[in-house]
Every structure is written in C-alpha cells, then in structure tokens.
C-alpha cells in the first residue's frame, strides 16, 4: 500500500498551497486602502506615534521585505500581535478557534447524518410524496441563508418558546470546565462534569443546526441523484434478481457507491462552515474565530487577518486530504487503481 507516500506527497504539496495562500492574503490585506497603524491607534493619536508603530510593523519598508519579516515570524511560530486585542494573534486564535471547531464539528455530524437520511429516503420514495416533501425542504433549505435561520431560531427559541438555549456557549452561572482542548463538550466529558456537558451540548444545538441546514439539503440532493442514477445499474438489477432484500440493497449496495460524489462536496461544505459561520456566531453570541476574523478585517488588523486566513487554509487542506482518504476508502477503484 502506497498510502504513506501518498500522504507525504499531499502534505508537501499543501505546504506550497499554504505559502501561495499566505502571499495572496498578505498582499490583499495590504493593498486595501487605510493605514493599519492609524486605525489601530485611532484618529487622535499623534503622528509620531503612528510613524513609530509603522516602523515597528515594518510598514515603511517595501512589500517584499514586509513579507520576509512576517513569514520569518510565522516560521518560528510568532504570528505577530493583534492591533485590536493587543495580544499575540496565536493566543487569540487558541482562544477563539475551539469554539468554532466545536460548532462546526456538531454541524458536520448533522450534515452527515441528515443528508444521508434525507437523500436515501428521497431516492427510495422517488416521485412519491416523501420525495416531494424533501425536495421542497431542500429548495427552501438551500435558498435560505444560515443567518436568516439563526435570527429565526433566536427569535423562536430565545423569546417565544424558550425550550433550548439560544445564546452563548454555556448558561450564565455555569462554571466552564478546565480547558484541555478548548472544546467545552469534550473538556467537560474528560473532567467527568456531565451537567456542563449537557448544557454545552444544548447551546450547540441551534447554531449548529442553523449552519447545517444548507449543506444538509445540498448533499441530500446529490445523494438522491446519485442513488437514482445507480438504481438503473445492472448490479442493482442483479442484486434484486438474486433475491437480496430491498433494505439491504438500498442501505448497502446502492448507498455506498452513491456516497462517493457527495463526500467531496460535503468535505468542502463543512470546511467552508468555518469561514461562513461569521453571522451565525454574531447572532448566537458565539465567541468563535469566524467572528474574530471578520472583525480583524473590518479594522485592518493585518496580523490577525493573515493568521485567520492561514488557519482556514490549513483546515481546508486537511479536510481535503481527509476527503480523499474517505473517497479512497469508499471506492476501491481509486484505492487500488495505483494512481492514488
């Protein structure tokens, strides 16, 4: 098995991707009008203070030199300081990333479970009412942006019918667990604090659902069309002809080949949730990295912008490698074809 060399090659290639990404985002962040030093210090700061900061940030030097200083820092693990929070960017990211990771992971679980469920049901009852209901839900689900859902959820569950918490990561007065991974659910489980675990899980439900609904239905449609496509294949007719029961055919022989096209899209969708979570995080008052990154952009917080984008890029790269591995697992033609 050439899995190791494949992984190694992919990881090496992704370094180039990340370097390319860093150059692009470095330039974009700097060509946008506005003086970061001035914005950081405020309009009433004296000019010499602004100039001093510009010099400290190497903003007075040419772009190439600026990039050199920055990438040198990144290579040694120093992502620079945020102009807004006045802390190290790495520190900020460590604080905000886990919240978003947790949100996206729960969303991903929703996406995987429900897209397969809805897709398979729609294919099984193709052109029957079940299919039509899922189709209508899908069009609505894909068309309505997640922030609209977020507002609706907050309105309904935060105000009209408060059965499930709609704001923040934990209820007021609940002591967060000792931070080990930064993911509240996992930390609380690790420390054996089940009430906190339950509370964190309830807080995750609504924002994760708001994020997941679009991708759920997009993937459900892909799975449905792949399954209805494959239904016409000889191997399905053969399986029916051999007398294999319908539920085995649907849930096994038809589902597995039909998941392959959906997995790639699913991976990208789930990775994009990281960045797209911005408005949902704002609405649910969720202290996540998406919100942090957006604020950094609005305030031209150069180091924070670059760092957040690099983190997103890294996540995309890793998710894509993961997706390729899952596809290879699902499809022996790719796994054993020699051209992994």
């Amino acid at each position: 098995m050439k899995l190791h060399s494949y992984l190694l090659r992919r990881l090496l290639l992704s370094i180039f991707v990340l370097v390319g990404l860093s150059i692009v985002i470095f330039i974009i962040a700097r060509v946008v009008p506005g003086d970061p030093a001035r914005m950081a210090l405020g309009p009433r700061a004296p000019q010499f203070a602004v100039d001093a900061l510009r010099e400290e940030m190497h903003l007075d030097k040419p772009l190439v030199a600026q990039y050199y200083y920055w990438i040198k820092g990144v290579a040694t693990g120093d992502l620079g300081r945020s102009l807004v929070t006045k802390r190290g960017v790495l520190e900020d990211i460590m604080e905000f990333l886990p919240a978003t990771m947790e949100l996206v992971m729960v969303s991903a679980i929703f996406v995987i479970v429900f897209s397969i469920l809805f897709g398979a049901l729609a294919a099984r009852y193709k052109d029957k009412w079940v299919d039509s209901v899922i189709r209508i839900m899908a069009y609505t689900g894909v068309a309505v942006p997640s922030f609209v859902l977020a507002v609706l959820f907050v309105l309904i569950f935060g105000y009209l019918w408060p059965v499930i918490p709609a704001l923040g990561r934990l209820s007021a007065g609940v002591q967060p667990p000792v931070s080990i991974t930064g993911l509240l659910t996992i930390d609380s489980l690790l420390t054996g604090d089940f009430p906190v675990f339950w509370d964190a899980l309830k807080h995750l439900f609504l924002p994760a659902l708001a994020l997941a609904i679009g991708p759920i239905f997009q993937e459900a449609r892909i799975i449905r069309s792949a399954m209805t496509d494959n239904m016409g294949k000889d191997y399905v007719a053969a399986a029916v002809g051999y007398g294999i029961p319908n539920h085995i055919i649907m849930g096994k022989y038809l589902l597995k080949p039909s998941l392959i096209p959906a997995v790639s899209v699913m991976g990208l969708d789930i990775a994009s949730l990281m960045g797209n979570a911005f408005l949902v995080e704002v609405i649910f008052n969720w202290p996540g990295i998406s919100r942090y990154g957006m604020e950094a952009m609005l305030r031209k917080d150069l180091n924070a912008i670059s760092a957040v984008i690099i983190v997103f890029g890294l996540i995309f790269v890793l998710v894509n490698i993961l997706v390729d591995l899952i596809v290879a697992y699902l499809d022996p033609r790719i796994r054993l074809g020699g051209k992994l």
């Binding site: 193709k126 052109d127 016409g232 294949k233 000889d234 191997y235 007719a237 053969a238 399986a239 029916v240 002809g241 051999y242 007398g243 294999i244 029961p245 085995i248 096994k252 022989y253 597995k256 080949p257 392959i260 699902l330 499809d331 022996p332 033609r333 054993l336 074809g337």
Partner: protein, 324 residues
C-alpha cells in the same frame, strides 16, 4: 412431457417515453421444460433482454409497463406474485447472468461480500446460514467455475479481476444456491472469443451437471447451435420461429431466420455475407401487420395488414409467416 418450468404467454411490455409508449414486446410466447436448454436469438434491440428481465421482474420500475401477458413459473403467474412468493422464485427458482459482468458486479464491494449476501438471503435454514457454511458454499461455487485460489478471489474487488473472471464470478453467484432455471443474457458478448468459448462450455457443463434448465440469450446463431436443444428466433418483440436446434439449421423457414443465417460469414469464402437490409423498427410507431414486412423480401399486401401468428408445422416447428 411434464409441465414446463417456465411458460411465457402472450407477453407485452411497453416502455414509457416522452414520445408515448414504446411497444417493445408484442405478444411473446415461450416455454422451457426441466433440463431443457433453450436459445433466444435475435439482433440487438429486439426485446430479448426485456423478455428475460420481466421474468425476474427487474425491468426499470416506473418505466416498464406490462399491459397483458402471463409469466407462469410452475403454473403460478410471476407478474401477479406477492413479494414473498416472488422472493421465493428469485432465491430458489430462477437466476440470471447479465451481458456485462463489469456492470453486474457492484464495484465498491468485494466479491466475497456480494456472494455471501446472495447466499445469506437465499432462504437457507438457520443451521445452513452459519458464517462458515456460507463461506464454504461460496468457495465451492468459485471452484465450480474453475477459478483458482477462491480464498483470495473472495477478498478481491471486481476491478481486480479480468473480464472472463468477472463473468465466471457472476455465474458462480447464479449457481451458488440451487436453482431450477438459469437465464444467461449474452454471457460471452463482452468477452474476447477464446474466453467466450470457455464461458459457454462452462455454462453448458454446469447446467447439465446440476440438471438445470437454461435460457440462453444470444445474437449468434453459432452459439445457439452449439449450446441449445431448441431455439426461439425473435424479431422486434415477436417470436417468429421456433424449432429444435437441428431442425432450424436444416430447414429454416421464416424469412428473418433465413436472413440471419445468410448474415453469418462462411469460412468457405464467397464474398461478404448478404445480411438483412434495414434495421429494427421504431417501437413508438411499429409497422402494422407483420413487424418484419418493411425488411422482408417476400412481403405481400397481407403482411402489411394482418399480424401472422405462430403456426405449428409439425414436430414443434412453429413459424409466424403467411408465406411459408
């Protein structure tokens, strides 16, 4: 002779298309006795596969429509069966081998997984469906189709096997549990000639050994001559001639059969075979009367107006033609 294992009576199958119903099968009659090997011969698109797929009820759901006809399996109409009875027929009665072995095997499961499920759901007793017994049956079936190293084959994915091996596996799956009737839908067509011959011999050997009945679908008269006892010649959804294999070659009667025979290139030379002009009709607007009349060298007015039915000319030789 006793009652036939399978008897198809006046079967019509239509497909729904955007242009209306495509009337493919137009009253097919066919029967197979126990232990008999029957050929179904005709050019591509004449409804051979449709006929056989309707036997197992694996026509595309929602598209195929069967307005009339019966498919009797030991006297019970498969078309009217409840799911349980149908399951019985599929697991114990009839199995089918497809034309494209590469398409008939699921690409993302190992041969073993697929074979085990075929055995597992074939209605075995609890004792028989123990894991080791299922595996034993699978290995035995793979040995029966002359593939070496069955243990390894079980762990292979279809794309790791050659075309001939895939078709052998399909045959193994069709015979892995006892069945009465095997339907082989051009099992050699997608293979190269030497492998094709091996597969045909293998099929004949297995069918004779297990005393199964065989329906061999083929477009090749040569294959049918070698493998079958009796031949049905099919044209555009109709059976146009039925005869014992030896009779058909000694005394072919229907103009279409004659045309098919003259399309076979002869080893003795004598130029390119004559063949039949034209092609299979449009099933959306099939020609009236005899469906073969637009291509028939002997067509007269009556052929355009009236549909000829199969007439018995003695000794089971039947022809659907006014001119014979």
């Amino acid at each position: 002779m006793s009652n036939p294992v399978l008897e198809i009576k006046n079967l019509h199958v239509w497909y729904r298309t955007y242009g209306g119903y495509s009337r493919v099968l137009d009253g097919v009659n066919l029967h197979v006795y126990k232990g008999e090997k029957v050929g179904l011969v005709g050019e591509a698109g004449c409804g051979k596969t449709t006929t056989m797929r309707s036997v197992l009820r694996i026509l595309p759901e929602g598209q195929a429509h069967i307005p009339e006809g019966q498919i009797l399996y030991h006297g019970n109409d498969i078309l009217k069966m409840k799911p349980r009875e149908l399951q019985q027929v599929r697991t114990r009665g009839i199995s089918m081998i497809f034309q494209e072995p590469a398409a008939a095997l699921n690409p993302v499961f190992t041969v073993g997984t697929q074979m085990f499920d075929v055995i597992k759901y074939s209605g075995l007793s609890k004792e028989e469906s123990r894991k080791d017994n299922i595996k034993r049956l699978a290995i035995q079936a793979i040995k029966e189709v002359y593939i070496p190293d069955p243990e390894r084959i079980l762990n292979c994915y279809p794309n790791q096997l050659s075309g001939g091996m895939k078709q052998r596996i399909c045959i193994a799956m069709a015979i892995v549990t006892a069945r009465e009737l095997l339907i082989a839908d051009e099992p050699g067509t997608s293979l190269d000639v030497t492998i094709q011959d091996q597969v045909h011999r293998l099929l004949r050997g297995l069918v004779e050994k297990k005393e199964m009945s065989l329906i061999m679908i083929t477009h090749s008269l040569g294959v049918a001559r070698e493998l079958t006892d009796r031949i049905y010649v099919m044209y555009a959804g109709n059976i146009v001639e039925v005869a014992r294999t030896s009779d058909l070659f000694a005394n072919p009667l229907h103009p279409y059969t004659l045309g098919l025979l003259s399309s076979v290139p002869k080893l003795t030379g004598g130029g390119v075979a004559e063949g039949i002009y034209g092609r299979i009709p449009d099933y959306l607007r099939p020609p009236g009367g005899c469906r073969f009349h637009p291509r028939c060298p002997r067509a007269v007015q009556r052929c355009r107006e009236e549909k000829p039915l199969l007439r018995d000319l003695g000794d089971g030789h039947q022809v659907a033609c006014f001119q014979v």
